[in-house]
């Protein structure tokens, strides 16, 4: 089994959102605009990479009984770093993501990867796993938010650049409201199941 597989599995076969189905809350809440989705994806990937690497490094010295508090401290430290850095250098994005940046601490994917993967695998594999999971998460967020922003506002704007011009149809506001998130996510998941079945 090549190391590369640790990376690619996160994108399709074990996609954190569509396959493992963790981290639904930020996915549903933040996929209203492509900018937010990518911002969240990057913040998430940085935290996951940091925590996975550190946890893989300390996996042999952390006693089993206190592993969860140890992981939480490591994850919380990385989240707070990302939170501070984002606040300092990307205030607009920071405001848009709001409470969901600090909430990465309790994101099930991060703790899930720490417990299920990084605590049992060497550093390189854990780093690749984190990058793959991060890419899978970001990609899934991007697709959901792209569909929602397009149908909900009639146009897709990425960091101030219009990448899909205003469409001819009347935008359906419900798509950027919470119900639109559930509908989009469910349809995408159904599509993915259909493809994987073959």
């Amino acid at each position: 089994m090549g190391q590369m597989q640790e990376f690619t599995k996160g994108i399709w076969k074990e996609n954190p959102i569509f396959r493992i189905m963790l981290g639904m809350c930020p996915t549903l809440a933040l996929s209203t605009a492509v900018d937010n989705a990518i911002g969240m994806g990057v913040a998430f990937t940085v935290v996951l990479l940091g925590s996975n690497v550190v946890i893989a490094l300390i996996r042999n010295i952390v006693p089993r009984q206190v592993r969860i508090p140890c992981y939480i401290v490591v994850i919380a430290a990385f989240v707070t770093c990302v939170d501070l850095i984002m606040h300092a250098y990307q205030p607009k994005l920071y405001e848009a993501l709001g409470i969901f940046v600090p909430l990465i601490v309790v994101n099930c994917i991060v703790l899930g990867r720490a417990e299920a993967f990084a605590s049992r695998n060497p550093v390189l594999a854990s780093a690749l796993d984190a990058l793959g999971m991060g890419a899978g998460f970001t990609l899934a967020m991007f697709v959901v938010s792209f569909i929602r922003q397009f149908l909900g506002t009639g146009t897709v704007v990425l960091f101030g650049h219009v990448i899909v011009p205003r469409a001819f149809f009347q935008p359906a506001t419900i798509m950027i409201l919470p119900p639109g998130a559930f509908v989009t996510l469910a349809l995408l998941m159904a599509l993915m199941n259909k493809i994987s079945e073959r």
Partner: protein
């Protein structure tokens, strides 16, 4: 016993390293965050007073009644006072608003929203900017109004946003009440001097 020491020791060590890291990152970003918060607030105050793209110098904040007021000046000439009010009942939580008032204290020079969580596509249109324009059309309506005209039509001069009556009302009420409080407090201050 030796086990317990080890458990506590490892956890303690991790916590110490983590807090050390955070202290460093905090020291690095602290100034930047303060600065960007200040810049953002100043930008909104500037827009509320004279519109975007101009340099306004703000003095130290002064208390007028319960309001914290910033007096702005362009090239040494006063252009008015900006203060923040909060609409307690937006559709989805409080809305924070900056109101600019001219130096005589008679009319509104502009209104800006600092913070809002209104429904996207409906209430959030209080900050919607139409293509080709440089300020939200809903907020532009407040410009030049005296307090007795800050009501939703037909009582006043403000057009409510279709399907967002609660948000429109919340902003309008908060702006008027803030303005009235400002005038009352100013009057009281003058009276006491």
């Amino acid at each position: 016993m030796r086990d317990a020491v080890r458990l506590v020791g490892v956890l303690l060590a991790i916590c110490v390293v983590a807090s050390g890291l955070l202290a460093v990152v905090n020291a690095f970003t602290n100034e930047r965050i303060e600065q960007s918060l200040g810049e953002e607030a100043n930008k909104l105050r500037t827009e509320a007073l004279v519109g975007a793209g101009k340099e306004v110098k703000f003095g130290e904040p002064k208390k007028v009644g319960s309001l914290t007021c910033y007096e702005g000046a362009v090239d040494g000439k006063p252009v008015g006072t900006a203060f923040t009010v909060t609409a307690p009942r937006g559709y989805a939580g409080p809305i924070e608003i900056v109101v600019g008032v001219d130096p005589v204290g008679e009319r509104i020079t502009g209104v800006r929203i600092i913070n809002q969580n209104e429904t996207p596509g409906l209430g959030a249109r209080i900050v919607q900017v139409n293509p080709g324009e440089d300020e939200p059309w809903f907020l532009r309506q407040f410009k030049g109004l005296a307090p007795d005209r800050v009501f939703i039509k037909p009582k006043g001069d403000v057009d409510a946003i279709t399907a967002a009556t609660v948000s429109s009302n919340a902003v309008t009420e908060a702006v008027r009440q803030g303005f009235e409080e400002f005038l009352k407090a100013k009057k009281a201050q003058r009276g006491s001097q």
